[in-house]
């Protein structure tokens, strides 16, 4: 290993990156764009659900119930419909996700029997949202019944304080407001780092082949490992700049709480960056065309990071076999680490296991990528 040769390659590569607007665009604009697109695009919070109501009674009490819906932040103000068919149409046309049907004997039933039924129709095409919407509707109706109960007790001159035998005092840790943004944004950071990291290096060897400079490079005494280290070095620096951009956006713009230390973040991000840079380099060595290499690198990083890293789908809900596959996805460890560093303020020692996995991953890839390049034109 010769430091002078590594330095010569690193310097040359840096000059080329600086003079190539395409590389710089990928390096600096892509993460910015992706952070905004994914940061706003991926949102699992269900709010402002559009709904319609078919109020067959039109009494004070039925209007009261609908006002509860309007007041909730989960629902929009109910749109009134004249008949059942109209309500069904609105769900068919996806104008509304939910329809409430209040029967004509609603207030009388409440007064006489102290109980009444309302019907809720839910659009189940998106089962996840349907589930959440139905639950929210139950909560709103539940609040309404408590109010009714309270008023009934007050009327009978009873105590205003109702007693609940067992009361759950739930406290949410790490994400107190249960904002899905808080755990999605660290995942988005991982996704952006994976995509951009591999894109950066996917061009580097393919470019030498396409421009015909590889022939001369192969004739020099540079060793494959020196070539790789020299080429990765400038992109590592660039990748770190990207990490700073992503972190600044996550904390400064998306207001995700950052409770860990920068040192932990720097250390783990370095490991992950080495992994993705090596993936891109490996692809570049194998494909020899810039367009092809960049496509393959994109697929190799984006697909597993999106689907199998726990970024969008929880890993412990996956079938056994798929869960096994996730252990081969480097982003899985980085997403775990990022969420823990951001929200829990986890330290390096607490993250020993995922970090060790990432380190092993990095070492294996450095060796593989370093050896992948053969100094021959055969």
């Amino acid at each position: 290993m010769n430091i002078r040769r590594i330095a010569a390659i690193a310097r040359k590569e840096s000059l080329q990156v600086i003079r190539d607007p395409r590389s710089l665009m990928i390096a600096l604009l892509l993460p910015l764009m992706q952070m905004f697109m994914l940061g706003y695009g991926v949102n699992l919070d269900v709010q402002h659900i559009p709904l319609c109501a078919f109020d067959q009674e039109g009494s004070q009490q039925s209007q009261d119930l609908l006002k509860h819906f309007s007041a909730s932040r989960y629902f929009e103000a109910p749109k009134m419909t004249a008949n059942m068919g109209d309500a069904a149409h609105r769900i068919d046309d996806s104008v509304c996700r939910l329809a409430i049907v209040i029967p004509s004997g609603f207030s009388r039933s409440l007064a006489d029997q102290g109980a009444a039924t309302v019907q809720i129709l839910v659009d189940g095409t998106d089962s996840n949202t349907a589930n959440i919407a139905a639950n929210y509707a139950r909560v709103v109706v539940g609040e309404f019944s408590r109010d009714v109960q309270l008023k009934a007790i007050q009327r009978q001159g009873g105590q205003t304080q109702t007693l609940t035998p067992v009361d759950v005092q739930a406290r949410v840790w790490f994400n107190e407001d249960l904002e899905s943004r808080y755990f999605i944004i660290p995942g988005v950071v991982a996704l952006v780092m994976a995509i951009v990291g591999a894109q950066l290096t996917s061009l580097t060897i393919a470019r030498e082949w396409e421009r015909g400079t590889m022939e001369l490079l192969v004739s020099t005494p540079v060793k494959p490992m020196e070539l790789m280290l020299g080429k990765l070095l400038p992109y590592f620096v660039l990748g770190m700049v990207d990490a700073v951009i992503c972190l600044a956006l996550a904390v400064g713009w998306f207001e995700v709480p950052f409770r860990g230390t920068l040192l932990t973040l720097f250390f783990t991000t370095s490991l992950f960056l080495i992994v993705v840079l090596c993936i891109g380099y490996y692809v570049s060595v194998s494909i020899r065309s810039q367009v092809g290499a960049s496509q393959i690198a994109l697929i190799l990083t984006m697909l597993p990071t999106t689907l199998l890293s726990g970024f969008s789908f929880p890993i412990d809900q996956m079938p056994m076999l798929v869960r096994g596959v996730t252990y081969l996805v480097s982003a899985r460890y980085y997403v775990t680490i990022l969420k823990a560093v951001f929200l829990k303020g986890a330290t390096i020692s607490e993250l020993a296991v995922p970090m060790a996995c990432l380190a092993v991953y990095a070492i294996v890839l450095v060796v593989l990528a370093g050896r992948a390049f053969r100094k021959t034109l055969d």
Partner: protein, 319 residues
Amino acid sequence: MDRPEPSIVVDKLCKRFGSFTALDGVSFDVGRGEIMGFLGPNGAGKSTLIRVLCGLLRPTSGRAVVAGIDITIDPEAVRRRIGYMSQKFSLYNDLTVVENLRFFGGIYGVSSDMIEERIRFALDMAGLQHRETALVSTLAGGWKQRLALGCAILHKPAILFLDEPTSGVDPSSRRRFWDLIHNLSADGVSVLVSTHYMDEAEYCMRIAMIESGRLIALGTPHNLKQQSIGGELIELECENIGDSIDLIARIPGVRDVAVFGNTLHILVENAEQTAKVVCAGLAEHGLSGVHARQIAPTMEDMFVHLVRTSRKPSSGAAP
């Protein structure tokens, strides 16, 4: 030529790509400071030979020792001792002249106290003194070639491989380039250079003619021209070359006819005798302005002859 310690020894070198044989049992050696030219048509195997000797391609069989090192045993050690200029320009167009030189200096491991001096030397040699900060993409062909040569000699290699270094370069730049090669040779650098310019072949100390992967002739330009080309040569001037060529080919005693500019070169057994027959034959067909004379074969005649004979399956190759 006196060659006490050959810089390169090539012994029965073969290179096959699948079923295609690019090099077929090539053997020769090159002395220190010698300029060896590889002459041959496109696709003859010149580039393949140079690439194998540079360690860019692995030989299928045979042996090659470059600067005392077997290329299959320690290709990296060979690469430290050679300089290479590929057929296609392969410096970095998006770097400046000096940035390219500095890069290759670093890659070849030129020490930091030597690098400035070597860069200065390369700039002076290539005549690029006032172009240090010019982007290579803005340089004209001749400048690029000289810069490529400059990059190849930064580490003072013992052997230089130049693959068609002057293709696409104007004549005065070519001339200047060959002066540089002769200077390097005078300093003891062995130079192996491929070309398809016949006039450039004359600048070489020895010439290896290559055709279909085989060495069909090897010798000094003078010796090669002295060799028998299988008869005597007539140069014929006439007005209608196209019509004449078919007529002449049918005349007994004519072995070969080839177009050379606005004349025909006719290979015959006996020049004096056949020249008269040819002139008479053409006059019979109303072709006027005929003037024939016997000439000494040029390098090109030699080359055409050797390629033709080597392509005939029955005849053996020249020595």
